[in-house]
């Protein structure tokens, strides 16, 4: 069996899991099939999808970015501060916000490269530090922006989905293209698979790391904007725990925490699975603590089932050969 086919069958497995979840909730809750549910799900998707895409880049390159939740809060805070406190236009404020995200990402990359520290530690530091920064920028207050968001709250006509959702779809496709079809994508996989071998064919691992962390920071910034657009407010508490959901989505999608392996499309399906699960459980009236228990079980179940499937497939391959 060739690897391309193998990845198709993996993808099929994920799609099946998603279909099962939808069917399950559809049967148990008569209200699941509704426009409202669809909107709940599509609302949840953008910020999670954007951070999960960035996370997948970093994971494939052999690192991890624990700071994305806090960085998204910094971006939201900068946006709120610019619009509410300084009366800047939405466009300028959005650029500042995304720039703040990018800055945090570059800082992560620079620290990892300069001091050769594990990215786990560096980004753990920023998980804390950036959260503090978000409080400082907003003075620990939620800034209500309401009407002033303007274009950011636009919905796409006919479909009724948010612009943020469309952005998430477009960026997923773009990220997929970058990882599979560009020189940079190939170098990212090479560095994540075997950093020393990559270096010895003339790839600069430091440069690759810098770019993936920058991308992850920028995407987290965009995720922060999506969050602000949805709530109509800049909340310094936004996005707490988002990094773990993003890792979960990537891992459900088959991304390896050891580096070198991952797919943007599969990560997006992972995001859909998490969003569907959350919306479905809410429909069933499951309490918040129980929701978390079930979500945790699904993460472990999905990754475990995939591992079993892969082992069976490779055994069959060996017997067939």
């Amino acid at each position: 069996m060739n690897p391309r086919f193998r990845s198709y069958s993996e993808f099929l497995f994920l799609a099946l899991l998603l279909a099962l979840l939808v069917a399950f909730f559809g049967i148990l809750s008569e209200h699941f099939w509704s426009v409202a549910t669809l909107q709940t799900i599509t609302n949840r998707i953008p910020s999670l999808a954007l951070t999960a895409l960035g996370m997948t880049f970093v994971l494939v390159a052999g690192g991890i970015d624990l700071s994305v939740g806090s960085v998204s809060a910094v971006a939201g805070a900068v946006f709120g501060w610019a619009v509410a406190d300084h009366g800047l236009g939405v466009g300028v404020a959005a650029m500042l916000a995304v720039g703040a995200g990018l800055g945090c990402g570059l800082l992560n990359g620079a620290l990892v490269n300069t001091f050769r520290m594990p990215s786990f530690i560096v980004t753990l530091g920023l998980l804390e530090g950036a959260r503090g920064l978000a409080y400082l920028v907003t003075n620990s207050q939620t800034k209500y922006l309401g009407e002033r968001l303007g274009a950011l709250q636009a919905t796409v006509p006919v479909l009724g989905v948010s612009a943020a959702f469309v952005l998430a779809l477009v960026l997923t496709a773009f990220a997929h293209f970058v990882l599979t079809s560009t020189v940079f994508g190939r170098h990212t996989v090479a560095v994540g698979t075997n950093e020393e071998a990559a270096r010895l064919v003339g790839i600069s691992p430091a440069r690759v790391r810098m770019i993936v962390f920058a991308a992850s920071g920028m995407l987290a910034g965009l995720a922060g904007l999506c969050h602000v657009a949805r709530l109509g407010a800049a909340d310094p508490n936004a996005g707490s725990g988002l990094e773990l959901s993003a890792i979960a989505a990537a891992v459900i999608g088959g991304t390896s925490l050891m580096g070198g392996r991952g797919s943007m499309l599969a990560t997006f399906v992972g995001v859909l699975i998490i969003a569907t699960l959350e919306a479905g459980l809410a429909h069933l009236g499951v309490t918040e603590p129980m929701k978390r228990v079930v979500t945790g079980a699904v993460i472990i179940g999905a990754v475990g089932a995939e591992a079993v499937r892969a082992r069976i497939a490779s055994r069959r391959l060996r017997l067939g050969a």
């Binding site: 020189v183 994508g185 996989v189 698979t193 075997n194 020393e196 071998a197 010895l200 070198g260 392996r261």
Partner: protein, 505 residues
């Protein structure tokens, strides 16, 4: 006549297709220092590991006195009184010196560490190796490499062996420390301990050893009393009969200068190397393990920092000091690492990705985007040209044989405009057919005007493939030969020269 303390007969050992020991004999008497010498691949390390229980032999017999000896592991060997001080330091840096010494048998009462007894026994053991003033409570990491080595030896002695194996024990020691060690070895010898002493340093052997055994190609050549032999005789015995006559076809005269190194230094291992490499030339780097060949190649390629000296490129002699491998590749260098598995392969990735990674074809009009169709076509053509045996170019490269993997690791550079090839043991673990096609490929590259610098531990490879052979020893150049002047004796003498007293330090 009494039986020797340790008698080895007909010992055989292979790793895969690589035969290391071919029926080796050796006898070790009580109360002697017995030196073991030989070139790379002679089998010294493998033999000592088998005696110390770190490897098991495929065939042959070992006897300790009148009993058969067959250690299951290092502990088994130690129980039989055989202790080996490993060449690589096994000191655990965060533990104290005393803890390191007695890690295997820490004194304890009811499971609680008896610190006082530990400290006392440690102090006694350290005193034996002349480290009277060393505080046994210091963390081992605070010691220099030389002291760590002495602690290792102390740890070995503390295990009360009657056979002690030392592998290059003086490599990291200063003159005074060596004196201490030798005094200790003489002391042990007069107490009846047998010492197997492996070293490149022939002058040390003359000082400390009673007898010397010469190994070549996994067999014992001779065991001689040290007093009755000379340095030249030893080198002659290690080198053996003249091997293949050099067959490299005489090529048209040298091309222009491609690379000039002047007094290049790197990491304390490369200690001032100057050499010239011309266009169309294949230059071999020979020497013993630890001579600095790999380190030199890595420094040239920008994979290790250069601490001194200069490099110049091409006829114009442009200064060249790569800050990264990326820069070296951009200037026309190609590199093939010694450790294929860890430094050459992207093992789980496809054959195709492995073959194209050094130069990906770019789509027209789309900068930075890979042209998949061209990539697949180029890789297929490359694999056919190199006669790589594979099932499907999307299969993981880990599934290919070593020879075919190596063809891909070398071939991935063919798409680039390479000027200078740096190859480190390019035919290690490669079957004969693949080896032949690698040689053909390199000759063809040289004929096209590219320059090739190749480090090899295989004398025949150097003698048959290279236009010139430069011998490194202990980080400096100790010899340069072109095929007519290259003989195994001269080569071996040069390889050992840097380790002699008075050689560059």
């Amino acid at each position: 006549m009494t039986a020797p303390r340790l008698a080895i007969h007909g010992l055989k050992k292979s790793f895969g297709t690589n035969v290391v020991l071919r029926g080796l004999d050796l006898e070790l008497e009580p109360g002697e220092v017995h030196a073991l010498i030989g070139g790379n691949g002679a089998g010294k390390s493998t033999l000592s590991k088998i005696i110390a229980g770190l490897e098991s032999a495929d065939a042959g017999e070992m006897r300790l006195g009148d009993n058969r000896y067959r250690p299951r592991d290092r502990r088994g060997a130690q129980a039989a009184g055989i202790v080996m001080v490993l060449q690589e330091l096994t000191v655990l840096p965060t533990l104290s010196v005393a803890e390191n010494l007695f890690l295997a048998a820490l004194p304890a009462r009811a499971g609680v560490l008896d610190r006082r007894r530990l400290r006392e026994t440690a102090r006694a053991a350290l005193e034996r190796v002349g480290l009277r003033s060393l505080d046994p409570d210091l963390p081992a990491v605070s010691l220099g490499v030389g002291h760590q080595q002495l602690v290792e030896i102390a740890a070995g002695l503390a295990r009360r062996g009657h056979i002690l194996i030392l592998d290059e024990p003086t490599a990291a020691l200063t003159g005074a420390e060596i004196e201490t060690l030798f005094a200790l070895l003489r002391d042990l010898r007069s107490g009846g301990t047998s010492i197997l002493y492996i070293s490149h340093r022939l002058d040390e052997i003359a000082l400390i050893a009673d007898r010397v055994s010469i190994l070549r190609d996994g067999q014992l050549v001779a065991t001689l009393p040290v007093r009755e032999t000379t340095r030249d005789r030893l080198i002659e015995l290690m080198a053996g009969a003249p091997a293949l006559a050099p067959t490299s076809a005489a090529r048209a005269g040298r091309g222009e200068l491609a690379l000039r190194l002047s007094d290049v230094r790197s990491g304390g291992v490369v200690r001032g190397i100057s050499l010239d490499l011309h266009r169309g030339e294949i230059v071999g780097l020979g020497g013993l393990i630890g001579a600095g060949r790999s380190e030199l190649l890595r420094a040239i390629f920008g994979a290790a920092p250069i601490d001194g000296g200069t490099m110049m490129l091409g006829r114009e002699q442009e200064p060249f000091a790569p800050a990264s491998t990326r820069e070296a590749v951009a200037r026309g260098f190609a590199f093939v690492p010694e450790d294929r598995k860890h430094h050459g392969l992207f093992a789980p990735l496809s054959v195709r990705t492995n073959a194209s990674i050094a130069r990906l074809p770019i789509a027209r009009f789309l900068p930075g985007v890979v042209d998949h169709t061209t990539e697949a076509a180029e890789v297929t053509a490359l694999l056919r040209q190199l006669q790589v045996r594979y099932a499907d170019d999307s299969q993981p490269i880990a599934e290919l044989s070593g020879g075919n993997q190596q063809k891909v690791v070398i071939g991935r550079w063919l798409g680039r405009d390479v000027q200078i090839w740096l190859l480190d043991e390019p035919t290690r673990g490669v079957d004969v057919a693949a080896r032949r096609s690698i040689y053909a490929l390199l000759r063809e590259r040289a004929a096209a005007g590219q320059s090739i610098l190749i480090a090899s531990s295989d004398y025949d490879e150097l003698a048959t493939l290279c236009d010139r052979v430069i011998v490194l020893s202990n980080g400096v150049v100790t010899g340069e030969f072109s095929p007519p002047t290259l003989t195994p004796e001269a080569f071996m003498a040069a390889a050992f020269r840097g380790f002699e007293k008075g050689a560059a330090s």
